[in-house]
């Protein structure tokens, strides 16, 4: 029977192997909990460990598996743990689609590997050429150059009043704190009233990007833009095809060049079919209704090809529209003069959109940025 420190340490090591970050402070915490409660059954021990070593709901299932492995049967525990050639657990999410994406991106990667001599994208003729090219027709190398360009695009959302405030000569409310502080200079007489107005801050930006097969060439370029945007502003980025994937944490950790590759790995449904309504429902349920979309500018990048029923899409769009400040729909296909929103999904969603833009090329991004910063309707 190993003693407590060894037990706690070996269990946290097993957790770390499985991908649950548990530092030494957590180990100590776990050991303290065990000393305090002196659990007599495995169940009690499990509760102690659960409270002290886990810090997220997503970790609970994995934790359970590791716990069963370590404490499940005393007979096989030592045997399994001691094996030196124990292969590290492969991360979930290595799907065929991701591999394909990585190879398709190969040219771009090599271009990135060399020193960054791309320098400042001045308005030179090759770039003019690049600016009007349809995103769908770009090679991987051109895409990489476009990425440099996109870093110069500023995405601004309209402002909203915040609860913080700033001094202003003609504010509506008197700032007693400052008035009093200043009055000390005039012998305690508050000769001048100091005032303040509410500060403003940009509204949150939420982007839902369709990465199904029909959108793939555009989605790549749009994601690049969103990556640049998420660096500067408060932006939440999701991708969807058959399921919804939140990319914000991925973008936060990645550098400019591997962001897209990581995004591809995080979203296992690249180039799959589209279920817009279901993904929108999931977004509303898990994030939007709880506050992420409240008063935010929501951007949906999709061509509106939906395999589901249009009525369902309309329902979820209506729900989103009631919460969001503005909904901007980016549909590259609207660039064509012959385009009519007859596709079931697009037609159903149209009444709830405040703006529909194409954003199919770099030159067309102006419309997009203008649509983002336009003030909200009705409300």
């Amino acid at each position: 029977m190993p003693d407590l420190p060894e037990l706690a340490a070996s269990f946290t090591v097993a957790l770390r192997d499985a991908g649950i970050a548990a530092g030494p402070d957590r180990t100590r915490c776990f050991a303290r909990a065990v000393t305090l409660l002196a659990p007599s059954t495995t169940r009690e021990l499990r509760h102690c460990a659960l409270t002290t070593l886990v810090s997220d709901r997503e970790q609970i299932e994995l934790f359970g598996a590791v716990f069963r492995e370590v404490f499940g049967g005393p007979a096989d525990r030592g045997a399994r743990r001691g094996q030196p050639g124990d292969p590290p657990r492969s991360l979930p999410g290595t799907v065929p689609g991701a591999d394909r994406k990585a190879t398709a991106d190969g040219d771009g990667r090599e271009g990135d590997a060399q020193p960054r001599e791309v320098a400042l994208p001045l308005a030179a003729s090759p770039l003019d050429h690049l600016a009007t090219r349809d995103f769908a027709a770009l090679s991987a190398e051109e895409l990489a150059r476009l990425a440099e360009l996109m870093r110069t695009v500023a995405l601004r959302t309209p402002t909203r009043p915040s609860r913080r405030r700033r001094p202003a000569p003609h504010g509506e409310q008197v700032d007693l704190r400052r008035t009093l502080a200043v009055s000390r200079r005039t012998g305690g007489y508050p000769l001048r009233l100091r005032r303040f107005v509410p500060r403003t801050r940009p509204r949150d930006l939420v982007v839902l990007c369709d990465i199904s097969g029909s959108m793939e060439p555009y989605a790549r370029a749009m994601l690049q833009l969103l990556y640049c945007a998420s660096r500067a502003a408060r932006a939440e980025v999701f991708t969807f095809a058959t399921r919804l994937t939140r990319l914000t944490p991925v973008f936060r950790r990645a550098g400019p060049y591997d962001a897209l590759e990581r995004a591809g790995r995080a979203a296992p449904d690249w180039s799959g079919g589209t279920r817009i309504a279901d993904c929108l429902a999931e977004f509303n349920e898990r994030f939007g209704r709880r506050g992420m979309a409240h008063g935010a500018v929501v951007v949906i990048v999709s061509d509106g090809w939906d395999t589901g029923a249009p009525a369902a899409l309309a329902t979820h769009m209506a729900r989103l529209a009631r919460v969001a400040y503005r909904i901007v729909w980016v549909n590259p296909r609207t660039a064509s003069p012959r385009y009519r929103p007859l596709v079931g999904g697009m037609a159903a969603a149209l009444p709830y959109c405040d703006a529909v833009v194409s954003a199919h090329s770099f030159a067309a991004l102006d419309d997009f940025t203008a649509a983002l910063s336009a003030p909200g309707r009705r409300r």
Binding site: D25, C29, L37, T51, V54, R164, L180, G291
Partner: protein, 302 residues
């Protein structure tokens, strides 16, 4: 604190004490709360809306027989609202008064305890004891990053600094309970300092038990019917907001308030607003018929 250890010696004792103040906790939650009290470490409670995160803190305060100090977080929450503010109008008056008497006032006279308006965090820190106050920092995911960083210092040291008065260290550090609805990810640094517990939605039998606890006048079978009805509603995939425990309690309370002693389709129709809070949900359920909610025998085929 021997007093505290005697009050919550082990998990079963804490469970029965929580039970006595009307909160039914399972072993896992009781363990988590016990550890938060005994290890004096903040605990982060997460779970679907309406599973009793806030209620857990309230029950814990009742068990410890100490005040519950609640800070509701929101975007733009500033330290003046969370920590302390000076009572400026009173300070002004004091200055005027002193002048009319021909006295002179020092800074130290003005920035003294009398003119301090403690907000929740300072109130929790300066709680005199002997038992620690329960500090509930509700929906911490709504506050912004800066506030989270500010909390780190407070939670780690149980101390705050007021420039005019100096650092105040808690003599009895509060038991801190943080809740989050996961509208955004919390910072790792904050999570690392907290114990963690995910509160799951309980099974039907436990919901019935909770209803009996919270609405004591309702008969046992009615509580069971309500619990079953709520379970049937939760089983529907298409609802915008599946009812939580809070809604189940409200429903039983509504039936009770109307003096209804049976849960038939008519009674359900009249009280449905206590359970479902979205117009679409009400429509969906009414369209599908209320029979399945009230018939305890047939299963949920929705």
């Amino acid at each position: 604190m021997p007093d505290l250890d005697a009050l919550v010696p082990d998990v079963p004792a804490l469970r029965s004490r929580l039970d006595a103040v009307g909160y039914l906790a399972d072993d896992a939650l009781a363990t988590a709360l016990l550890l938060a009290v005994r290890m004096r470490q903040p605990i982060l409670l997460e779970g679907e809306p309406g599973v009793g995160k806030t209620e857990a803190a309230r029950a814990l305060a009742a068990v410890l027989d100490t005040p519950l100090i609640r800070l509701q977080c929101y975007e733009g929450l500033s330290s003046a609202e969370a920590l302390y503010e000076w009572n400026y109008p009173r300070q002004l008056l004091a200055i005027r008064l002193a002048e009319s008497r021909g006295e002179s006032l020092q800074d130290t006279d003005l920035f003294a305890e009398d003119y301090l308006l403690p907000r929740p965090l300072l109130a929790a820190i300066s709680h005199p004891g002997p038992r620690p106050a329960v500090l509930l920092i509700d929906e911490v995911d709504r506050a912004d990053d800066e506030f989270e960083a500010f909390l780190l210092e407070l939670l780690a040291d149980a101390a705050v600094t007021i420039p005019e008065l100096g650092t105040r260290r808690a003599t009895v550090p509060p038991v801190a309970v943080l809740t989050s609805n996961r509208t955004r990810d919390l910072h790792d640094a904050l999570k690392r300092r907290c114990l963690y517990h995910w509160i799951d939605y309980p099974d039907t039998a436990r919901v019935a038990a909770i209803i009996r606890k919270r609405v004591p006048e309702s008969a046992g079978w009615l509580a069971a019917r309500v619990a079953h009805g709520v379970a049937a509603l939760r089983a529907r995939q298409e609802l915008t907001k599946p009812p939580g425990i809070a809604e189940a309690i409200d429903w039983a309370g509504a039936l009770q308030a109307l003096g209804l002693s049976v849960l038939d389709a008519d009674a359900a129709d009249r009280t449905l607003g206590a359970v479902l809070k979205y117009a679409e949900d009400l429509q969906t359920v009414r369209r599908a018929g209320l029979a399945e909610l009230v018939d305890a025998e047939t299963g949920t085929d929705a």
